[in-house]
């Protein structure tokens, strides 16, 4: 058959984009080589892209001539791309080849009556179990719970053991219970997101009992923790995907499909992600591109990808090959894939994750009742998927912009004529020449500022007047600002409200700066003590926190705050105190963020204070001492006022940094509990990248942050001017 295709194909050059690495990439390359051998006129240039940037790069490149002809990606984005006609429907191919593929994979590729992409590999989770501990995997949840309870406790070395480990707080995993309890993410007909359902409630209650009542699952299980526990034999079972197998060398493990939920008799069904070969709608060689996609989905390529790349391939015929069918891991994951629910491929799905994760965290972390958590999540979701606001006329805004521009021009011109009009004509000409030269000198820097600061700034401000949904921008005027400032969807005291977040941000900034300055200044005073030995050593040690990249520090602290395995819990236990679940209450989560950021922030203030302290002459203190000043009075009347000129700019800088300290909030508390510890800048991020791509809303947040900080800096400038050094 490939010979037939080859006859039809003119000489052409194809581009293939993918995000494969290592063995998977090798398998793909071999497939391509086979394809090229069979089609002598066709050359395929493959390009491996970093996974994180892949989606955005595709979205940007597909509408242009620089995009790929064929690319391999998960099916989740089909809806968005299909609506924007970025990918070509492959209805004919699927009609012909459909029966060759595992049925669930075909479902995943359908969107609004058409099918896109040919399925290559399937990704879902299944149950891993340690064969030393569990001879026979559980068939039902009752068996699972019993086994898990039996293996929870302490091992021979006194280390804690858990029956089950998986990323409990991730809705991706929760979905398998949801489906097992008969629920679904969308309500049909109408295809409306719906998460507050009785089934979802029961699924949440089931997980809550596992986590909080039976305590068979470790707390805050990150993927690294799950992997570490399972490898060490401290977790008897784990729920994870085929990729997990690569981390398990040396462990005697088995993989089984997920159990049947005893309460309903339905199997637990995980989300299924289908990696497919898509053909770009703009490919200049559509026939060759389709042929390549077909080849990649063929049995020949599938066997290669399964054997070499250990992919759970979608092509059923590949499993006839003993090397594939005989692989227990591939076989189990194939069966699981048949019992899985493809993730929805419409853009609406993007509004599912954040609210649903928050509900999950509230229930298993904070002990909130499932019904309440789901109700709140549903409200949140509705707010995120609110309809596109009415399009506004842009004319009033253009007129306002024009007026502002004209006023600025007039003002600028007046200033200019004033400065140029003085002096005799000759010197005026000379000055003009000098000015021209000066402009030439600053031009490179000006260009840099234009491209890196001014253009993004103007675009950002412009964006705040638009509503974005599914790739379409609608001009809505001040609507975003009105919604944000009016807090129309939430009460003022709810974490999603702008005012609540602003209050948290202010509290965050003030408490941080106070601690940074307090501790920094205190240490600087200690370091100045003439009796202190090894000053240089201390100084270097104290600056270290500053020198370490802050996201690394943030991740280290995040680990230390872990309730079961964190260093802080161990310390508390050593003092006979009860470990704290740091991220379930606002006060403790805020404190955790604060501690981390203080650790990062004090060295800067210390260095500034130390420098300023060294410039205060010692005889001022002697004079003050003779004048009758106690140590405290010397500090208050001499040290503080003389530090002020150096410290004030540092405080202003520090407060702006802290106001926008995204890393710590995002990495340490992640906004937990329920977004309460999010600050304005992390909220802006979430609106843009975690909540239905509300770019306009996010931009409006950023503009408000900018306006706030502009006001603040104007105020502080005034303060520092009225009190000169």
């Amino acid at each position: 058959m490939s010979a037939l295709v080859a006859l039809a194909l003119a000489a052409s050059q194809l581009t293939l984009w993918h995000a494969y690495r290592a063995a998977e990439e090798e398998a793909l390359q071999q497939s391509i080589a086979l394809f090229e051998a069979a089609n002598p006129g066709v050359r395929v240039e493959s390009l491996a892209l970093p996974y994180d940037a892949f989606a955005s790069k595709l979205s940007a490149a597909l509408p242009t001539d620089h995009g790929p002809d064929v690319f391999i990606f998960a099916h989740e984005r089909i809806g968005g791309w299909a609506r924007e006609s970025k990918i070509a429907p492959l209805d004919a191919e699927l009609a012909e080849l459909g029966p060759q593929f595992i049925p669930t994979s075909l479902e995943a590729l359908k969107f609004e009556g058409h099918s896109y992409g040919l399925p290559l590999a399937l990704k879902s989770v299944a149950l891993y179990y340690n064969k030393k501990l569990i001879p026979k995997p559980p068939a039902t949840t009752d068996e699972l719970v019993a086994l898990a309870k039996a293996h929870t406790g302490r091992d021979a070395a006194g280390l804690p053991t858990y029956g089950l480990a998986y990323q409990l707080k991730d809705s991706y995993y929760q979905a398998l219970w949801l489906h097992g309890f008969g629920g679904s993410v969308f309500e049909e007909p109408g295809h409306r997101l719906r998460i507050a359902t009785p089934q979802a409630e029961r699924a949440l209650a089931f997980v809550r009992d596992l986590a909080l009542r039976d305590k068979v699952i470790p707390e805050e299980p990150s993927s690294t923790l799950v992997s570490a526990l399972f490898r060490a034999g401290q977790a008897a079972m784990a729920i994870n995907g085929p990729w997990f197998a690569g981390e398990l060398s040396g462990v005697l493990y088995g993989v089984a499909t997920l159990p049947i939920v005893s309460a309903t008799g339905l199997p637990a069904k995980p989300f299924l992600s289908v990696e497919a070969a898509f053909v770009s709608a703009r490919s200049s060689h559509p026939a060759a591109a389709r042929a390549l996609a077909r080849f990649l989905a063929s049995r020949e390529s599938a066997v290669l990808r399964a054997v070499l790349g250990r992919q759970v391939v979608a092509t059923r015929a590949a499993y006839d090959d003993p090397r594939v069918g005989g692989d227990a891991l591939l076989r189990t994951f194939r069966r699981q894939a048949e019992q899985a629910v493809p993730t929805d491929n419409t853009p609406a799905m993007q509004a599912f994750w954040e609210p649903s994760n928050r509900a999950l965290a509230a229930v298993v972390g904070g002990g909130v009742a499932p019904a309440d958590a789901l109700a709140q999540a549903e409200r949140r979701m509705i707010a995120l998927t609110r309809p596109v606001p009415e399009r506004r006329s842009a004319w009033p805004y253009w007129i306002a912009l024009g007026l502002i521009g004209a006023a600025a021009l007039v003002f600028g011109a007046r200033k200019r004529t004033k400065s140029l009009a003085t002096g005799p004509a000759a010197s005026r000409a000379a000055r003009r020449l000098g000015l021209a030269r000066a402009y030439a000198y600053v031009a490179p820097a000006g260009a840099g500022i234009l491209v890196l600061v001014l253009v993004p700034f103007v675009l950002g401000v412009g964006l705040s007047f638009f509503h974005h949904s599914e790739g379409h921008y609608t001009f809505v005027g001040l609507h975003n600002f009105i919604e944000i400032l009016g807090s129309s969807d939430y009460r003022l005291t709810e974490p999603m409200s702008f005012w609540f977040t602003l209050a948290v941000t202010l509290l965050w900034t003030v408490s941080n700066v106070a601690l940074h300055v307090g501790i920094g200044l205190g240490l600087a005073l200690l370091l100045r003590d003439p009796l202190l030995k090894l000053k240089g050593v201390y100084r270097v040690l104290l600056i270290v926190p500053w020198a370490v990249p802050n996201y690394i520090t943030a991740l280290m602290w995040k680990g230390m705050f872990h309730r079961q395995f964190g260093a802080i819990s161990h310390l508390l236990k050593a003092f006979g105190l009860e470990p704290i679940s740091w991220f379930t209450h606002f006060s403790t989560a805020f404190a955790a963020n604060l501690v981390t950021n203080t650790w990062l922030g004090f060295p800067f203030m210390m260095v500034v204070a130390l420098g300023a302290l060294q410039s205060i002459p010692a005889d001022l203190y002697e004079a003050a001492e003779v004048d009758g000043a106690s140590k405290w009075n010397q500090f208050r009347h001499i040290t503080l006022p003389l530090l002020k000129p150096a410290l004030l700019p540092a405080v202003i800088l520090g407060s702006v940094w802290t106001f926008n300290m995204f890393n710590i909030i995002y990495l340490v508390s992640g906004g937990e509990p329920g977004g309460a510890t999010d600050i304005l800048v992390s909220e802006a991020y979430r609106w843009a990248f975690q909540r239905n791509e509300a770019y306009g809303f996010a931009a409006a947040y950023s503009v408000l942050i900018f306006v706030f900080l502009l006001g603040y800096s104007a105020l502080t400038r005034k303060v520092s001017q009225t009190e000169p050094a």
Partner: protein, 361 residues
């Protein structure tokens, strides 16, 4: 007003002994000048009195009370620093008032005392300025004012005029003297400038290498130095010393010979002959001869530095004498004013019986 008493005071920084057993009594209301070359320990001694340094041994008493362990702010002393140490962030008024504010002085009294001190030091128009807006002399006056407003029992001055130019120094010296006369308080004043010391002091304490050499009224010290160091330190230009030997009524050295004053009874010994420039003059004939090395003309008079066979000698001349470097000159000496010091240890040798107690109190 209070007397200050030092008994056996020692102070060392590491192995470096700075003050080596000083006994000194400073009477109430007296202006005592501590003078000596750099590194002689005079400033350290002042800081010991202020309490800014702790004595290793000995007693420091103010008004009869031992204060070794008392912190500076409780010693009730006022100090004027060499660098002035004005608080740069405070106005002149705030600088003056600082000590009073700390002592919670009532507002009315505080204002009155600041105004009084400002008037005394002619600082009234400058009260709202900051130190950096003042000239050196003005800063100096603020530093003094800051000590004055508190009305301390003892004033301590640490080379307060050394950062001023010569003219201003002379002027401030006068003001200081007037101030002392008005306040009549105990003042201890440290300087390395012997002119300042001579003009200001009620009594003078000369230090060298951490040891008190001699205490007394300035003129007494000038006329009756206890040793070669004091003799050489006081007086400008410095006294010249020529090695010689006393034989009967004559002291003679290389190329010179002086008759001792009538009635002098000195045992035969090796000595240093001390000659003040003011007691020597260029003449046609004289006891000393030598070659002119340098000439300092001050107008109506001048000093000439001459190398004689016995050693360098400084002599005074009057008017526009016809002198030039390299000329051979003769120097006449007023034998009555010569002083002798033992060659061995430099102590003064009395040429006449000690006079009645002249160095009062």
């Amino acid at each position: 007003m209070a007397e200050v008493t030092l008994k056996g005071v020692h102070k060392a920084f590491g192995d470096n002994a700075i003050v080596r057993g000083v006994d000194l009594e400073i009477a109430s209301g007296e202006l005592m000048v501590l003078v000596g070359p750099s590194g002689c320990g005079k400033t350290t001694l002042l800081r010991l009195i202020a309490g800014l340094e702790q004595a290793d041994a000995g007693d420091i008493s103010i008004a009869g009370v031992r204060v070794n362990e008392v912190s500076p702010r409780d010693r009730d002393v006022g100090m004027v620093f060499q660098s002035y140490a004005l608080y740069p962030h405070m106005t002149v008024r705030e600088n003056l008032a600082f000590g009073l504010v700390l002592r919670k002085t009532p507002r009315a009294e505080l204002d009155a005392r600041v105004a009084e001190a400002a008037a005394l030091l002619e600082l009234s128009p400058l009260l709202e300025r900051k130190p950096k807006e003042l000239s050196g002399g003005q800063r100096q006056r603020v530093a003094m004012g800051r000590a004055i407003v508190r009305r301390p029992r003892v004033f301590l001055f640490d080379e307060p005029l050394s950062n001023l130019d010569a003219a201003l120094r002379v002027q401030m010296r006068g003001e200081l003297q007037r101030l002392h006369q008005r306040l009549r308080s105990t003042m201890i004043y440290v300087t390395h400038d012997q002119v300042e010391a001579m003009t200001l002091a009620t009594r003078l304490a000369v230090f060298n290498q951490g040891i008190l050499q001699q205490v007394g009224a300035p003129l007494h010290l000038y006329e009756n130095p206890a040793n070669r160091f004091v003799a050489g330190f006081l007086g400008s230009p410095a006294m010249s010393f020529l090695p010689g030997r006393v034989q009967g009524q004559v002291v003679a050295g290389k190329g010179f010979s002086f008759a001792l004053p009538a009635g002098a009874q000195v045992a035969a010994q090796d000595v240093l002959v001390g000659l003040r420039p003011q007691a020597l003059r260029i003449a046609a004939e004289g006891a000393l001869r030598g070659e002119v090395e340098a000439i300092e003309r001050l107008g109506s008079e001048g000093y000439v530095y001459v190398r004689t066979e016995a050693g360098p000698v400084t002599a005074r001349f009057e008017g526009a004498a016809d002198l030039h470097v390299g000329a051979l000159v003769a120097i006449a000496a007023d034998a009555a004013s010569l002083q002798l010091f033992a060659a061995a240890d430099g102590t003064a040798i009395a040429l006449r019986p000690p006079p009645a107690v002249r160095a009062a109190g």
